[in-house]
């Protein structure tokens, strides 16, 4: 099967070119002016073609909470958002802590055939922070990175061992930085707003103290570490300094950390759809996140896609679980709030959402549009605006604070390994 994409504007992290793309089965075989006939032709004039987006931080709730999301709906949501590769976090029930669960997820994702799903293995058995999982065996099962996301290791000596041991297998540790004794049962950033409303606060230092601890370990052990969903100004100052000093750290943020702030809770009467961890910060945090994206202190943008049921998000704010869904909006949110506002250019966004994640995780033939690479592509109409609407969400859960937002940049097609896995014209009402 050959597919020819005509006259698109191909955007890689380092260059833009107007050219045709010829796909044969799963790979791109030619880029340039192509006269050849194909089985199917797509006209991409006026559209941009991006390397398929890669999300380092997704929660697919499988196994255990398939009523929130399953591998199929998660895949569909990803494809709709232009993602072709997603990493699902192990805080499932049971946790993804042995090769059996990992192999099953990889096989299921292949069977579903919409996007590549890489399970992130748990660092400790049942994510209890007590005993390490079998990193070597997990690696053999297809695991590229490890995390106890949501429940960072409290035992710093165990984290040290995990970092050392993971290094031996070239596995990346992804750390959710949070000093839980400080964040405790808080539900929003400790601030004059939490004080005004009598809400228990999460001090911003609960993240930055975690960041500092983990970076000290990485520096001392000379190992790699990736920090998840960084949200505060102070964390970014610490990361920037560590990077300058040669610590092997990479980090990600999520769109809500450069768009929403603590005042948005107040404006929305503390609806639980605005509750997320790390919590929405202050204006200075948003500015710092944008600056860090621009400077490259932040390597990538992930979604932290976190599906929750309607009943869970109808709970009182202080009781409800943390998290937003994000796969379907991450690109448009980032394009609208970063590229349209000239924080970074489109190439920069491609770097944050595709090239760098591929690079950090050592994904071969992904993250860059070139001959020989997988035909993982997103065709986007940047001139389209659209409204985030509950009824258009394909994820099983609908918990997003962005309902009603008007966004720029509409995904027209998503190709995964040469197959059209999303075609807006046929699969969506948008």
């Amino acid at each position: 099967m050959k597919i020819l994409i005509r006259e698109g504007r191909i955007v890689n992290f380092d260059a833009i070119q107007n050219a045709d793309i010829l796909i044969h089965n799963s790979r791109i075989i030619k880029i340039g002016r192509i006269e050849e006939k194909a089985d199917k032709e797509i006209n991409a004039r006026g559209k941009v073609i991006l390397p398929g987006l890669i999300d380092m931080h997704t929660h697919l709730r499988t196994p255990g909470w398939e009523d929130r999301e399953d591998l199929t709906t998660g895949s569909l949501a990803a494809a709709k958002g232009g993602f072709t590769t997603i990493f699902c976090m192990p805080n499932t029930s049971p946790a993804l802590d042995n090769e059996g669960y990992l192999k099953w997820i990889i096989k299921e994702a292949e069977r579903i055939g919409i996007v590549d799903i890489y399970p992130v293995g748990a660092i400790t058995k049942s994510r209890e922070g007590k005993e390490l999982t079998e990193f070597g065996i997990l690696k053999k099962a297809g695991c590229l990175c490890l995390s106890d996301d949501g429940d960072p290791l409290e035992d710093v000596s165990l984290l040290r061992k995990a970092l050392e041991y993971a290094g031996m297998f070239n596995l990346l540790i992804i750390s959710h930085c949070e000093e839980k004794k400080l964040s405790y049962t808080g539900s929003m950033t400790e601030s004059v707003i939490s004080s005004k409303y009598g809400m228990e606060g999460i001090p911003s230092i609960s993240e930055s103290i975690g960041v500092f601890r983990d970076l000290e370990l990485a520096r001392y052990l000379k190992v790699k570490i990736h920090l998840a969903h960084i949200s505060t100004k102070r964390s970014l100052e610490i990361i920037k300094k560590a990077k300058e000093e040669g610590v092997r750290v990479t980090c990600e943020t999520a769109p809500h950390y450069f768009i929403l702030k603590v005042e948005d809770l107040e404006k929305n009467n503390f609806h639980a759809n605005f509750k997320v961890n790390p919590p929405l910060g202050e204006e200075e945090d948003i500015e710092a996140v944008k600056e860090a994206i621009k400077e490259g202190v932040i390597d990538c943008i992930a979604t932290d896609h976190a599906p929750h049921s309607i009943a869970e998000k109808e709970l009182p704010f202080t009781k409800a679980p943390f998290g937003f869904i994000g796969l379907e909006f991450a690109f448009a949110l980032s394009y609208t709030y970063l590229v349209k506002r000239k924080i970074i250019d489109l190439k920069g966004l491609v770097e944050k959402m595709s090239y760098r994640p591929a690079n950090i995780l050592g994904l071969k033939d992904k993250g860059y549009i070139k001959e020989g690479a997988f035909a993982d592509l997103a065709i986007v109409d940047l001139n389209q605006t659209w409204e985030v609407n509950k009824k258009d969400i394909v994820s099983k859960s609908k918990n997003t604070p962005f309902i009603g937002y008007i966004l720029h940049g509409l995904i027209e097609y998503t190709f995964h390994k040469g197959k059209i896995v999303y075609n807006r014209a046929v699969s969506s009402r948008l």
Binding site: V192, S195, G198, M199, I310, E312
Partner: protein, 314 residues
């Protein structure tokens, strides 16, 4: 009532000075009614009020119940423990179930801060906040202010000192928002671990020195210390708390001559206030209870004369 537009009473922070004055005016006339032989008025005849208490508080519940009965409303008491609200369905379902009785007013006491806005979507009734988490307890603040106004003849420009656990106090927050609308100078005083983060940004002064702060206060509000909670981690011992923040016979000598001392009740004698002062202070605290009834009648009257319909809050 002219000038009253609100459907719900969720917090003092949403009220204007003028709205507070409307409540006071009504409360004064209802107070007068309570002193008559026949204490009932037909204002809410045919209306239904439901007391929905997810936290037990006999005092507040009784006060609302009697207030409603004095206005001839039908009253239903519904108690449930907050712990039974672990699922979202049950809170929503509870409200929706009660909706079958077509209530006009729902008086809600609940342990979660700022959850009433979202609950108001499930009912056509007017919601009156009887205390939500650490956020607000509007009728308590209204009765405190009403009492002060009655004694002082005015509210403007007073020095108000609030003493105790500010962090976990909805009474403190409602009083701060209320007195601020009358240009009061507000000082909070308590253990540094129980003053919320950046609280001074709300325009209040912070003091850790009760002996100093007590001198220029026109009004002192002593907050209740919840012994079970605070003792553990916010200060080392009740003994040390009493030493620094209790109102004692010694300290009371330093107050201004016409200073009013209040407490939302029930008092932990010898914790917040020395029992030596019981005789001296108890009459005023009971006056607060009496005024509480009048304030709640006023609030229920305003809420109960609103039509049963969904209304956007703002």
């Amino acid at each position: 009532m002219d000038g009253w537009q609100k459907k719900h009473l969720l917090g003092i922070k949403d009220l204007s000075r003028q709205e507070i004055e409307i409540i006071f005016e009504l409360a004064a006339s209802f107070k007068e009614l309570s002193q008559r032989e026949v204490k009932k008025a037909p204002a809410l005849r045919g209306k239904t009020m439901i007391n929905l208490f997810f936290e037990s508080s006999t005092r507040t519940r009784t006060s609302f119940e009697l207030a409603a009965k004095r206005l001839s409303a039908d009253v239903l008491n519904f108690s449930s423990s907050s712990s039974s609200l672990s699922k979202g369905e049950s809170l929503e379902d509870t409200i929706k179930n009660l909706e079958a009785y077509h209530p006009d007013i729902l008086v809600i006491r609940i342990g979660y801060s700022e959850c009433l806005h979202n609950l108001s979507r499930y009912t056509l009734a007017s919601i009156v906040n009887a205390g939500d988490g650490n956020s607000e307890h509007p009728t308590q603040a209204l009765l405190d202010m009403f009492t002060v106004k009655e004694i002082k003849g005015k509210l403007d420009g007073l020095s108000v000192l609030i003493v105790g656990d500010i962090t976990h106090s909805r009474v403190a927050r409602s009083n701060i928002f209320g007195f601020q609308k009358f240009s009061a100078h507000i000082k909070v005083c308590g253990p540094s671990t129980l003053i919320p983060y950046e609280f001074d940004k709300l325009g209040v002064e912070i003091s850790y020195d009760f002996d100093e702060a007590i001198r220029d206060a026109d009004v002192i509000i002593m907050l209740r210390i919840q012994k079970e909670r605070q003792e553990i981690s916010f200060f080392p011992s009740i003994r040390e708390y009493v030493e620094k923040f209790a109102l004692t016979a010694e300290r009371i000598k330093k107050i201004k001559k016409d200073c009013i001392i209040m407490h939302p009740g029930p008092v932990n004698w010898d914790v917040e206030i020395s029992s030596q002062l019981k005789e001296e202070l108890h009459p005023l605290i009971l006056k607060q209870v009496e005024n509480g009834l009048a304030i709640r009648m006023a609030v229920l009257y305003l809420a109960g004369t609103k039509k049963r319909k969904y209304e956007d809050i703002n």
